[in-house]
Symmetry: C2
Subunit: 91 residues, 2 copies
C-alpha cells in the first residue's frame, strides 16, 4: 500500500502539474491574453525546469514526471501569449 | 558548505514562492484582471496548501517556508481578482 504521505505528495504534484491548463483553455476560448503576466509564467517555467533538474539528480520519478507535465502546460500559456496571440500583446 | 543539490532546490523553491508576484504587480498597475484564470490560481493555491501539509509531515523547513510565501502570493492574486477588482469580473 502507498503510504499516506506519498498520496499527499502525489495529489500536490498533480495540482502543480496541471494548474496552468485552465489558463491556456481560457486564452484559447476568449482569444485574450493581455492581463496575463508573462513574467509570472516565465518564472513558473524556470521553477519547473529547476525542479526537473533537482528530480533528475535525486532520481525521483514523481518529481521528474510532474515537472515535465508542468513545463508543457506553462509553455502552452507562453506560446499562446507571445506567438499565437502576440498581436493582442502589441495592441 | 551547502551541497549543490540543496542550492538547486533552494533556487527552485525561490522561483516557486515568488512566481505569482509579477501577476499581482501587473494587476495593481493596470487595474485589469479579466484575462487571468481564477481556476489556475485556485489550483495553484490548493497545490501549495498540499505541499505545505507535505512539508509539515516531513518536518522540512524549506518546503514549509517556500509554500507559506507561495500561498501568500497566490492569495494576493485571488484577492485582487475576486474582491478588489470584482467589478471588472462582472463587466
Amino acid at each position: 500500500m502507498i503510504p499516506p504521505i506519498e498520496i499527499l505528495g502525489l495529489c500536490a504534484a498533480f495540482f502543480t502539474a496541471f494548474s496552468s491548463l485552465p489558463q491556456s483553455i481560457k486564452m484559447i476560448r476568449t482569444k485574450h491574453t493581455r492581463d496575463v503576466s508573462g513574467v509570472t509564467f516565465s518564472m513558473m517555467f524556470i521553477s519547473h525546469l529547476l525542479w526537473l533538474s533537482y528530480g533528475i539528480f535525486q532520481m525521483a520519478i514523481s518529481i521528474i514526471a510532474s515537472n515535465v507535465v508542468a513545463i508543457t502546460m506553462v509553455s502552452l500559456v507562453l506560446i499562446l501569449k507571445y506567438i499565437v496571440w502576440k498581436d493582442e500583446e502589441l495592441s
